[in-house]
């Protein structure tokens, strides 16, 4: 129990608490929230954001940032749509190719960051421009995907009680989260990411493969963004070059609200999962409300972000102070 409530877990506990309170609050106001449908929709509507946030979690844990995720989502969507609808590829092949493109874009950014020590926000800023530019180059119009295989994917559901159902997006989201939680906790890669975020120089001195891990982190984030794009195109049955505009901010917000320290080293994939749910609940709640407009979502996210940052700041100061007094 003591370990459970330790200093490191405090941000994540706060996140879970906020999530539960928001859900209960929304449920008391709009009884529809307590059906199985709303939680299931929360998962499927936010699957692409969730997958992106999972990849970004590793980046932020390593002490970096990836601004290219949103435009990579857009690029992936338009690429799949273009390849299937215009080039006549089989969707499975198109999806595979898109995921490879995502990994490559991430890997190149990783090289710039790990090998040439370019500030992550600048390198990924280049990625942001690049992906959006290429996406718009492919097509400025939204492309509908008519392929039967794709339709099947989009319509595939596993019914759950109460009229709710599990979609492909939900499945992918849950699988990615599960694997990522395991990676973060139980693989050398995951632990190295934490070590780098804690102190890069120390991680190097401990003999951990810092450069290689950083490369993988950005490649992983590229993969997750591309997968997010795939899910988005399945969700909308189309590809759109401007899809995912500003999504990097939502994803960063989800990660930070999930208790991951923006300076790296502390946090968890599970936290980001809950963070995504919080964003989803806010969005759903505001749309249920009807009178509140959608921009309240942004403001609410901004306020939550501020609160969590100040909380983190306070915790860092507190731990710094306690170290001084015990040292």
């Amino acid at each position: 129990m003591k370990r459970f409530l330790s200093k490191e877990n405090l941000p994540v506990m706060a996140t879970v608490l906020v999530c539960v309170l928001l859900y209960l609050g929304a449920g008391l106001k709009f009884p529809g929230f307590f059906s199985t449908r709303v939680p299931m929709n929360l998962l499927s509507d936010n699957a692409f954001l969730g997958v992106v946030a999972v990849g970004l979690t590793f980046v932020i844990l390593s002490g970096g940032i990836d601004l290219s995720v949103g435009s990579l989502v857009g690029l992936s969507g338009i690429l799949i749509a273009h390849l299937t609808t215009h080039a006549g590829w089989h969707p499975a092949l198109a999806i595979g190719a898109t995921l490879l493109v995502g990994i490559t874009v991430g890997w190149v950014q990783g090289v710039l960051i790990a090998k040439f020590e370019i500030a992550p926000f600048l390198a990924t800023l280049g990625g942001l421009f690049f992906c959006r530019g290429v996406a718009l180059w492919i097509s400025q119009e939204s492309i509908t995907i008519e392929h039967p295989f794709f339709k099947q994917l989009a319509l595939f559901t596993i019914p759950v009680s109460g009229g709710a159902s599990v979609t492909v997006g939900t499945l992918a989201f849950l699988v990615v989260v599960t694997i990522a939680i395991w990676m973060g906790r139980h693989t050398l890669f995951g632990r190295t990411v934490y070590a780098i975020g804690g102190n890069k120089a120390s991680a190097k001195l401990m003999g951990l493969e810092v450069d290689k891990t950083l490369l993988s982190v950005y490649a992983l984030s590229g993969f997750c963004s591309a997968l997010g794009g795939v899910l988005y195109s399945i969700y909308t049955s189309s590809g759109n070059a401007v899809a995912g505009t500003g999504m990097e901010l939502d994803a960063i917000a989800a990660v930070v609200i999930g208790g991951t320290l923006l300076s790296g080293g502390y946090g968890s994939v599970f936290g980001s999962f809950v963070g995504v749910l919080i964003l989803g609940i806010i969005q759903t709640g505001i749309s249920y409300q009807g009178t509140l407009s959608s921009w309240w979502t942004r403001i609410a996210i901004g306020i939550l972000l501020l609160v969590f940052m100040l909380l983190q700041r306070g915790l860092v100061r507190l731990s710094g102070a306690s170290k001084n007094s015990s040292g």
Partner: protein, 507 residues
């Protein structure tokens, strides 16, 4: 378990080690041996070559000459990992571990080949517990490292180092940030490891610590081996003399200053039991116009820390400070400068120069800061002022608009002095004003200090070169263990006496 010294095997042998850097010889034919089951203290002041020796030994720097034998085999580690693989492990003063990870991970990660896909947490925890138990510690290895005190973290660093078949353990100032109870804990661990047959190289500034655990001492100075002998044959006084003693070759052409007039002037600054946890312990001092107080002491004795407290860089947590007869509360750098103080720090690069800015801008920075945002000097006046100082201090630069980073160390140091002289301070604090600069510049700076004193400025100088201190100071305070032991007029002091004080704490 006492082992007969003749039975001890030579574990590590360094022969005629040479290491050169551009413009200097860092190690000049150094010999060093380490036996299994001994703690060997490696001593020397800054620039003596001990950290270079450690770097060569652990594969951080390549050798320029000589050979390293481990268990009789010649080795040539190309990296710290290669050295670690051979069984040579280092633990540094700064804890190079991931404080956000658990103790078990800090002991195990990166040490073993991970062939499995996932981590073997159970195995890590078991191994972590075993290694920690080897040091006689008992703690929950699942907790993050940051939960523990620095001393425990230091010992976990040691636990990591010995987790994989070590032969040689190098402890580079492991005790610098620990209090005495924690130091004892580390010593217990060191003795335990010694009994296990490890050879330990121990680096520390604290003499009593050296005498508490070491079996042998090796002293380096200016890249050369000065002495090696069993602890019983080298008393503290000998040790200090070996480390910092006067050697005729370093003589600079300056006459020793006679002590100032016997009439004690009204002090400009006076400190009473000035204290700060872990850095300065109850320091009393007072300096008046035309006086130069020298702070003598080994590294870590509290010299720099005292200056930082006086200038308001760090906050005191006890004692009183008076400047010009007025008590000072909520003291900070800006107030100190406004009151008429200046402070030249010991590390030019980190806290002195602003590398990209020009010589002119660097020299006039303090003046400009004091004049405020709305009071910039006209460019022409700036150039005149800067040129004036460049001439006065004989700073070798053709152009005051040149970025200061392109000047030599000695000239940078003179610029930093100029930065403070511009505001004509009443009290100037100098921390190692002659470190890392050439002999000519050294002499000029010492001469300048004498001139400033004659003009009625008060100065406090921390310097590890005793001969320099005794030449320019009117009185000298000997520091040891964060305290001032004694303050004496320089006329009553000799290098021998100061060294005796530094070594023994009494005369």
């Amino acid at each position: 378990m006492a082992v007969d010294s003749t039975a001890q095997t030579e574990l590590l042998t360094l022969r005629r080690i040479e290491k050169r850097f551009p413009g200097m010889i860092a190690l000049d034919g150094v010999n060093f041996t380490l036996k299994a089951g001994e703690i060997h203290a490696l001593m020397g002041e800054n620039g003596a070559g001990k950290s270079t020796l450690i770097k060569v030994l652990t594969g951080v720097l390549p050798l320029d000459g000589g050979e390293i034998l481990l268990d009789g085999q010649a080795i040539c580690p190309a990296s710290t990992f290669a050295a670690a693989h051979l069984g040579i492990r280092t633990v540094y003063q700064e804890i190079n571990l991931a404080t956000n990870l658990s103790v078990a991970e800090n002991v195990c990660l990166g040490q073993f080949d991970a062939r499995r896909v996932g981590l073997d947490w159970k195995g890590m925890i078991r191994l972590g517990e075993e290694s920690v138990a080897k040091l006689g510690l008992e703690l929950d290895v699942r907790r993050p490292l940051s939960d523990f005190s620095v001393a425990i973290q230091q010992m976990i660093a040691i636990a990591r180092a010995i987790a994989v078949t070590p032969k040689v353990l190098i402890l580079d100032e492991p005790t610098s940030s620990l209090d005495s109870a924690e130091v004892d804990q580390v010593f217990r661990v060191m003795r335990k490891l010694k009994d296990l047959g490890l050879g330990i190289v121990f680096v520390s500034h604290f003499l009593d610590q050296i005498y508490a655990v070491s079996d042998r001492i090796t002293v380096l100075r200016n890249g050369k081996l000065v002495a090696t002998s069993p602890i019983s044959e080298m008393g503290p006084q000998d040790l200090v003399r070996h480390m910092i003693g006067h050697s005729p070759s370093e003589e600079t052409p300056i006459e020793r200053e006679p002590t100032a007039s016997s009439v004690k002037p009204e002090p400009i600054i006076r400190a009473k039991s000035l204290s700060r946890r872990m850095s300065v312990d109850s320091v009393d001092l007072s300096v008046g116009p035309g006086e130069v107080l020298g702070l003598a002491g080994l590294l870590g004795s509290g010299r720099t820390e005292t200056l930082r407290l006086l200038f308001g860089v760090d906050a005191k947590d006890g004692g009183d400070l008076e400047f010009n007869g007025k008590p000072l509360t909520r003291w900070n750098c800006r107030k100190a400068i406004r009151a008429g103080m200046g402070f030249c720090t010991e590390d030019r690069k980190v806290s002195g120069i602003i590398p990209e800015l020009s010589v002119r801008e660097n020299i006039l920075l303090v003046l400009q800061a004091r004049r405020g945002i709305l009071g910039p000097l006209p460019k022409r006046q700036q150039q005149e002022l800067a040129l004036q100082l460049v001439k006065k201090l004989r700073i070798a630069t053709t152009d005051v608009e040149k970025p200061i980073q392109f000047l030599s160390g000695g000239n940078q140091q003179k610029c930093l002095l100029a930065r403070w002289l511009v505001i004509e301070p009443k009290l100037l604090l100098l921390d190692e004003p002659t470190r890392g600069i050439d002999v000519g510049a050294k002499a000029e700076i010492l001469q300048l200090i004498v001139e400033l004193r004659k003009q009625g400025m008060a100065l406090i100088i921390a310097d590890s070169e005793l001969s320099e201190l005794l030449r320019v100071c009117t009185s000298t305070a000997v520091m040891r263990d964060r305290k001032i032991l004694q303050t004496l007029p320089t006329s009553e002091l000799t290098e021998e006496r100061v060294m005796a004080l530094m070594a023994e704490g009494n005369v």
